[in-house]
C-alpha cells in the first residue's frame, strides 16, 4: 500500500517518467518473485495411499484399481518390490500447513504424519514424514520431492504380501 501510494504520488506529481514507473514496477515484481522463489513454509495438499503388493492370484482377480496419481508407477513398483500385483487398500489427502503436523490415516491404524513442508527453488519441496503403525513410529524421513513425484515406503508384511505407503505432494 505504501509502495503503491508513493509510486502513484510520485507519478502524479510528475517527478517520475513512465520509464521510471516501469522500472519501479519491474523491481517490485523481481523482489516479490525472489521472495516467493526462496525457501518458505507453504500450504500444500499431500496425497497418500496404502498399497498391498503380493503374488496372490485372488488379489489379481479382485485387484482394486491403482489410483490415477500413481498409475504410471505400478510396473516399476512391481519390478522393484518383486511382486506380481498391487492392490489399493486405502487413500487419503490432507493439507499440510506450516508448523502444524497433518496426517493421512489408513485402515489398521497405519498413519503418515507430515510436517515442515517448505518450498525450495525450482518447485522442489522439503518434507518430513513419519510413518506410524498403531502408536509405534516405524520411520522418520526427510525428503526432497517435486509436485507429482510419489515417495514409496515398503512397510511390514501382511498376509502373503507386503504393505507399501505412497506419499506425494499434489497441489
Amino acid at each position: 500500500m505504501l509502495i503503491r501510494s508513493s509510486v502513484l504520488g510520485t507519478y502524479v506529481a510528475g517527478n517520475c517518467s513512465f520509464r521510471t514507473f516501469l522500472l519501479g514496477a519491474g523491481l517490485l515484481f523481481a523482489v516479490v518473485g525472489l521472495t516467493q522463489a526462496g525457501e518458505a513454509p507453504v500450504v500444500e495438499s499431500v496425497w497418500g495411499c496404502l498399497l498391498y503388493a503380493s503374488n496372490d492370484r485372488a488379489t489379481e482377480k479382485v485387484q482394486t484399481q491403482i489410483p490415477a496419481q500413481i498409475r504410471d508407477y505400478d510396473e516399476r513398483l512391481e519390478k522393484l518390490l518383486g511382486y506380481g500385483s498391487i492392490q489399493t487398500l486405502g487413500q487419503g489427502e490432507t493439507v499440510v500447513e506450516p508448523d502444524r503436523p497433518s496426517s493421512i490415516v489408513f485402515h489398521g491404524n497405519i498413519r503418515v504424519e507430515l510436517t515442515g513442508l517448505t518450498r525450495q527453488p525450482g518447485e522442489h519441496f522439503l518434507v518430513v514424514l513419519r510413518v506410524f503403525q498403531k502408536d509405534r513410529q516405524l520411520i522418520e524421513t526427510q525428503a526432497n520431492v517435486t509436485r507429482g513425484s510419489p515417495l514409496f515406503i515398503r512397510g511390514p508384511l501382511w498376509r502373503s504380501g507386503q504393505l507399501v505407503v505412497a506419499v506425494m505432494v499434489v497441489s
Binding site: 518473485g33 522463489a37 496404502l50 498391498y52 504410471d72 508407477y73 516399476r76 513398483l77 522393484l80 518390490l81 487398500l89 486405502g90 489408513f106 485402515h107 489398521g108 497405519i110 527453488p121 525450482g122 518447485e123 522442489h124 522439503l126 503403525q133 509405534r136 513410529q137 516405524l138 520411520i139 522418520e140 524421513t141 526427510q142 525428503a143 526432497n144 520431492v145 517435486t146 507429482g148 513425484s149 510419489p150 515417495l151 514409496f152 515406503i153 515398503r154 512397510g155 511390514p156 508384511l157 501382511w158 498376509r159 504393505l163 507399501v164
Partner: protein, 162 residues
C-alpha cells in the same frame, strides 16, 4: 435591404451611385467629413507606406528548420544506444534473456517422451527408533522406495480394507 454598415462602407469606398450617395449624405451629414478624412488617410498611407525588403527572406523557414534539426539530434542522442541499437531494444533484449534464464532455472522441465524424467524424490535422511528396524533407500530411474526391514508382521486376520 442593405444594412447601414454595408452602405457606409460602400459610401467610403465610392461604390454608391451619385443619387445613393446624395441620399446617404442627407441622412448622415457627418459622413461627408468622415469621407474626406478617410480619403486623406488613404492618400497619406499610399504615399508613405513602403514595403520593407527583408534581408533574409527565408528567415522564418530557416529558424523552423534549425529547430527541427536540433530536436531530431536531441531525440536521437537519447534513443540510440550501444552499437547504434536503441536502448529500448537493449532493454527488451535484456528482459527476454532474463525471462529465459528464470524459466530455465526455476521452472521444472524434462523430457516429455520419458514419463519418469520429471520425477524427483530424494531421501535426505531416515531415522528408525526401533533398533531392530532398518531402512534402506533404493532409487531407480523414475522411482524411489524406502525399504523397511525387521518390522513385525501385521496379523493376517486384521482387515486393512475397511
Amino acid at each position: 435591404m442593405k444594412t447601414f454598415e454595408e452602405r457606409y462602407t460602400a459610401y467610403l469606398d465610392g461604390l454608391l451611385s451619385e443619387s445613393e450617395a446624395a441620399i446617404f449624405e442627407q441622412e448622415r451629414p457627418a459622413s461627408v467629413a468622415q469621407k474626406v478624412a478617410w480619403t486623406k488617410l488613404q492618400r497619406v498611407l499610399r504615399d508613405n507606406l513602403v514595403s520593407v525588403e527583408l534581408t533574409n527572406t527565408d528567415f522564418f523557414n530557416s529558424q523552423l528548420l534549425q529547430q527541427i534539426t536540433n530536436a531530431r539530434s536531441r531525440s536521437r542522442s537519447l534513443v540510440v544506444g550501444w552499437l547504434g541499437i536503441p536502448w529500448l531494444a537493449w532493454g527488451g533484449l535484456g528482459a527476454v534473456t532474463a525471462g529465459i534464464a528464470l524459466f530455465i532455472t526455476l521452472i521444472p522441465h524434462g523430457d516429455l517422451s520419458d514419463p519418469g524424467s520429471g520425477y524427483v524424490a530424494q531421501v535426505l535422511k531416515t531415522t528408525t527408533i526401533d533398533p531392530n528396524v532398518s531402512a534402506t533407500v533404493e532409487s531407480r530411474k523414475g522411482i524411489t522406495i524406502i525399504k523397511l526391514e525387521g518390522l513385525e508382521k501385521v496379523p493376517a486376520d486384521e482387515d486393512l480394507t475397511h
